[in-house]
């Protein structure tokens, strides 16, 4: 959609609006990562639209110097779909959160992924409702104490990437706010033609502080993060450990790699088009396993707007937009000038 020649700099994507997130909020880092990425994509601010729902994350469009539409809670995918159908040339970034995208807007998120409308969908997952002051969210871990769950939440959390894949997404990726790799993940999402789903773990310093530290903090990150790369073996911990597939139980295992011989250890090579393995990666529990990050799945298929355009071409073939003819269509009769009666 855009060639990769930068026509802008980071500064061109900053608005004159004062950014109003809490000091230390992970959203600042994500904003910078996006503003840093956009010039490298060759994006044109006039042709770029940021669409969001409601929540802390959804303030995002106000801080990006492009077209922006801050809509209503959970419905951003529906607005974005209308925008894309009305003008398929626009480059759309959708910004949502765990509450906006998976609770009130779960239905729309499912359908925008299923239809495969070409856009980048960034779901900022902080596992909490921030803007409404700290209630537990659909991604909060069991036992999360919050104003609405003083003894700890009892419901099972949703897994955003598993949801996306289950809904039929053709691109699923993961990153986190302060990761230096986030621009690469966003670049891959932009390169994917279709609905590209990116879960971005985001630190809510006020209501759910450092909840991702167990894998995101720099110290020991190597042991806890599995950065996936297409065609590359799934190794972490400095190449000393890897992910293998137990062919008898069809389950993933963590295996030790001795002397770099990952093949001997049975470590599998990441194939971004392997949907079955993608399902396992998005469900891989953190703790026994490292956190799978990067592009988990990427296998494009025709987009919704392409289908709509093709359908239009089929249905208008041989038809003229003649309004007079349309109004006078169906079974008609003519009343005679003199008689005032049907001819």
């Amino acid at each position: 959609m855009n060639d990769m020649t930068p026509i802008t700099t980071l500064k061109d994507w900053e608005t004159d609006q004062e950014v109003r997130w809490c000091p230390g909020c992970g959203d600042y880092a994500i904003l910078k990562a996006v503003q840093r990425t956009l010039p490298t994509l060759g994006s044109d601010p006039a042709n770029t639209v940021f669409v969001s729902g409601i929540g802390c994350s959804s303030r995002f469009p106000y801080y990006i110097e492009s077209y922006g539409f801050h809509t209503i809670h959970g419905r951003a995918p529906a607005f974005a779909t209308g925008i894309k159908l009305a003008n398929p040339d626009l480059d759309i970034w959708l910004v949502t959160g765990d509450g906006d995208g998976l609770s009130i807007g779960g239905n729309h998120l499912m359908h925008v992924l299923r239809r495969n409308v070409n856009m980048q969908i960034m779901l900022f997952n902080n596992e909490i409702y921030g803007l409404t002051k700290g209630q537990y969210s659909p991604t909060s871990r069991e036992g999360t104490k919050s104003p609405s769950t003083p003894l700890g939440s009892v419901d099972h959390p949703a897994r955003p990437c598993a949801f996306a894949l289950g809904a039929g997404a053709r691109f699923v990726a993961r990153g986190f706010d302060v990761s230096k790799n986030l621009p690469d993940v966003l670049t891959a999402a932009h390169a994917h033609k279709g609905a590209a789903f990116v879960e971005i773990f985001q630190n809510c310093v006020v209501y759910n502080k450092d909840v991702f530290d167990d894998f995101a903090k720099p110290k020991g990150a190597e042991d806890r993060q599995l950065w996936l790369e297409n065609g590359v073996p799934m190794l972490f911990a400095g190449g000393t450990r890897g992910i293998a597939l137990d062919r008898a139980t069809l389950r993933l295992d963590v295996v030790d790699v001795v002397d770099g011989d990952w093949q001997a250890a049975g470590v599998i090579v990441h194939d971004v088009t392997n949907r079955a393995v993608a399902h396992m990666l998005v469900e891989m529990p953190f703790g026994p396993f490292p956190m799978a990050l990067g592009v988990l799945y990427d296998d494009p298929r025709p987009t919704f707007e392409e289908g709509v355009i093709a359908d239009r071409a089929r249905s208008v073939a041989g038809k003229e937009p003649n309004l007079a003819k349309l109004l006078g269509s169906g079974q008609t009769w003519t009343v005679d000038e003199r008689e005032g009666h049907p001819a």
Partner: protein, 655 residues
């Protein structure tokens, strides 16, 4: 009613009383018997014969109700004649009953002395039981006050289609065409258009086409033969003198769809329609999906909310966004409508009203969403509201809705109802060249200059009408952000400050109140006097006829019918104050009455009916007469009871 031109000829002096030149026919059968199809084709042949007409299709909410049951009865009523017809008619002259259940639920409506045609082949013990008949009414003398023509239509149909080798079930499916053939004979209608239609309908299955044609012809021939010895006779109705021109029949759903397309074309805009299936609004989606050559995009969304949100997104991107639904769906769209009001984007919302609240009466008509349309959103959220009064009127009203939406950058609600959506009437096809193009304007460059003399974009700078500019994403140099949080004057930046919210609330209100609405005209009667009957929407037909009759009896009564529900015509208050009494008939519990009282402090009196049935002329005549009987105590404030004679039949709904 047919057309404006017809209304002119239908003035008081020329219109006949008692209407011997009009006939009301009701076709009734099981929901699988094809009665709506029969009615539809009979309507077409009636229109082709030059009679004016109005129809009332009535069908059960169940798709395939159990066969032979009272609640599975589907009916189609048509009123046609050699003078102006405004309603689907009060009591039928002719009832065609395809089974005992259809007879049971419709018989009470038939005029004494009217003709009842029944298919004896369906009057089996089992079907009589299903219809809760203890004895066969065709044999027990209970139909004495009507002319009854009972014969085995089923057997005659099977016989007629024998040469085509259909199975018994398929053969019996041709019964409705046999019945139509008989009806065509009774009213002297040509068969050829129906032959042509059948051949086109069954293009891939010529044997089905020919079998149906044989059934149709057999029914027609039966009429000729039976005439010699029985109650069956032919009716002759002269064509109505009408304005010259090209005519077609049109339903409200078709008229809305064509009006939306015409409106978008006149504005020079692509039309984007976001919809979600709901009765009775889905027909608009079905029509528009076939009109893509007019730059129409249709989107069947995952829900009502997504449908309106996608339409708003499309408007934001430079198309004319439209969504449509019925009451429950409109309720779901409420929050998004508020966003369209806040972001000041064009949007047309069509509400085909049905009985409520909640799921209510999905297939029946009502006007009870008026409060919802005018007031039903959070915050001070003003929105223009228009109401169509008939199927053909819906065309013009849809164009008007598109115009207001774009010229004032606002969502607009267009109210129709189940009756308007489904009913058909003749329509004098307008010439599109007669409509003035009204090209939409998009901002192409910055619209202000800042203190330093540099160009500045002010997305909320208002024009003389109070409308902000329409700025399409993709336009170089005009990047800006909009959303649902209160906007600062001119710049559109987030602004929660008290003074700003007051100013912006006022600006949104004043913009809508300033919409150029034509002055209210009086449809019938003087601009002042003893009584004004004020209506809106689909009550036009019965009110018009009732006022016409009352005036013929010397009563000083006028008919005023309001299209612009919000904002109302500037002269309406003054006009109403010119009458001693104001009566407002509505198919709700008095919603427009309340709005009129609120806006103009007039003592508007309600006349309400919420049985899911349209008003009958006689009911309105009786209500009008109470103002002229020299007894003050019985006038106004009335509620009309469910009507045994009317569709939907009381018995069918509640056996």
């Amino acid at each position: 009613m047919a057309t404006k031109a017809v209304e002119n000829t239908g003035g008081e002096a020329q219109t006949h009383d008692a209407a011997p030149e009009a006939v009301v026919v009701r076709f009734a059968g099981d929901s699988g018997d094809g009665m709506q199809l029969t009615g539809g084709q009979f309507t077409l042949s009636t229109a082709l014969a030059g009679n004016d007409l109005a129809t009332f299709p009535d069908f059960p909410a169940e798709i395939r109700a159990p066969q032979g049951t009272l609640f599975g009865v589907s009916a189609f009523q048509i009123n046609f004649g050699s003078h102006q017809i405004d309603t689907a008619g009060d009591a039928p002259d002719v009832l065609v009953a395809m089974n005992p259940a259809a007879l049971k639920v419709n018989l009470g409506a038939v005029k004494p002395g009217g003709l009842v045609i029944a298919d004896t082949g369906e009057f089996t013990k089992r079907n009589l039981e299903k219809a809760k008949y203890a004895a066969n009414p065709l044999e027990d003398g209970s139909l004495a006050k009507w002319d009854v023509l009972a014969f085995d239509i089923s057997a005659l149909t099977v016989e007629a289609v024998k040469p085509f080798g259909l199975g018994n079930k398929d053969a019996l499916r041709c019964k409705n065409m046999w019945t139509l053939g008989l009806a065509l004979w009774m009213f002297g209608r040509p068969r050829k258009p129906i032959h042509d239609w059948l051949r086109a309908k069954f293009k891939g299955k010529p044997e089905l086409a020919e079998a149906n044609i044989a059934a149709l012809d057999a029914g027609h021939a039966y009429g000729e033969t039976a005439e010699l010895s029985g109650p069956l006779h032919q009716y002759t109705l002269e064509p109505v003198p009408t304005a010259p021109g090209l005519y077609r029949t049109i339903t409200g759903a078709e008229a809305v769809s064509l009006g939306l397309v015409a409106g978008a074309q006149l504005l020079g805009l692509p039309l984007f329609f976001g919809g979600y299936p709901i009765t009775p609004a889905s027909a608009i989606l079905h029509h528009l999906v076939r009109l893509k050559e007019f730059d129409v995009t249709t989107f069947q969304a995952e829900d009502e909310i997504a449908a309106v949100c996608a339409a708003i997104g499309a408007s934001y991107a430079g198309s004319l966004g439209v969504t449509s639904s019925s009451g429950p769906g409109i309720a779901l769209k409420g929050e998004a409508m508020g966003l369209a009001i806040m972001t000041e984007l064009p949007l047309v919302i069509v509400n085909s009203q049905r009985g409520g609240p909640s799921t209510g009466l999905p297939t029946k008509t009502e006007q009870s969403d008026l409060y919802q349309a005018v007031y039903g959103r959070n915050g001070d959220a003003p929105m223009p509201v228009l109401a169509a009064r008939s199927p053909s009127d819906a065309f013009e009203v849809a164009i008007e809705a598109c115009r207001i939406a774009v010229q004032y950058m606002t969502p607009v609600m267009l109210l129709t109802d189940g009756y308007i959506a489904n009913a058909a009437e003749p329509w004098l096809v307008p010439d599109p060249a007669a409509f003035k193009p009204m090209p939409a304007q998009f901002l192409a460059e910055k619209n202000a200059t800042d203190a330093d003399g540099n160009g500045e974009l002010l997305p909320y700078k208002r024009d003389a009408k109070g409308a902000r500019p329409w700025i399409k994403p993709g336009t170089p140099g005009l990047m800006h952000r909009i959303g649902g949080i209160e906007k600062a004057i001119d710049t559109g930046h987030l602004d929660y400050s008290p003074g700003n919210h007051q100013s912006m609330t006022d600006a949104r209100r004043d913009k809508v109140l300033g919409v150029d609405v034509p002055d209210q005209e009086v449809c019938l009667g003087g601009a002042g006097g003893r009584l004004a009957v004020v209506g809106w929407g689909s009550t036009y037909g019965p009110i018009h006829q009732a006022v016409l009759r009352a005036r013929r009896h010397g009563m000083d009564v006028s008919h005023i019918h309001v299209r612009h529900i919000w904002p109302m015509p500037a002269n309406l208050g003054e006009l109403l104050r010119g009458f001693d009494k104001v009566l407002v008939p509505e198919m709700n519990t008095g919603q427009f009455k309340t709005v009129l009282r609120d806006q103009f402090l007039v003592d508007a009196q309600p006349l309400t009916k919420v049985s899911g049935q349209p008003f009958q002329i006689a009911e309105l005549e009786a209500a009008i007469a109470t103002y002229f009987d020299a007894r003050a105590e019985d006038a106004g404030g009335q509620e009309i009871e469910p009507n045994e004679q009317q569709l939907p039949s009381v018995k069918a709904v509640n056996p």
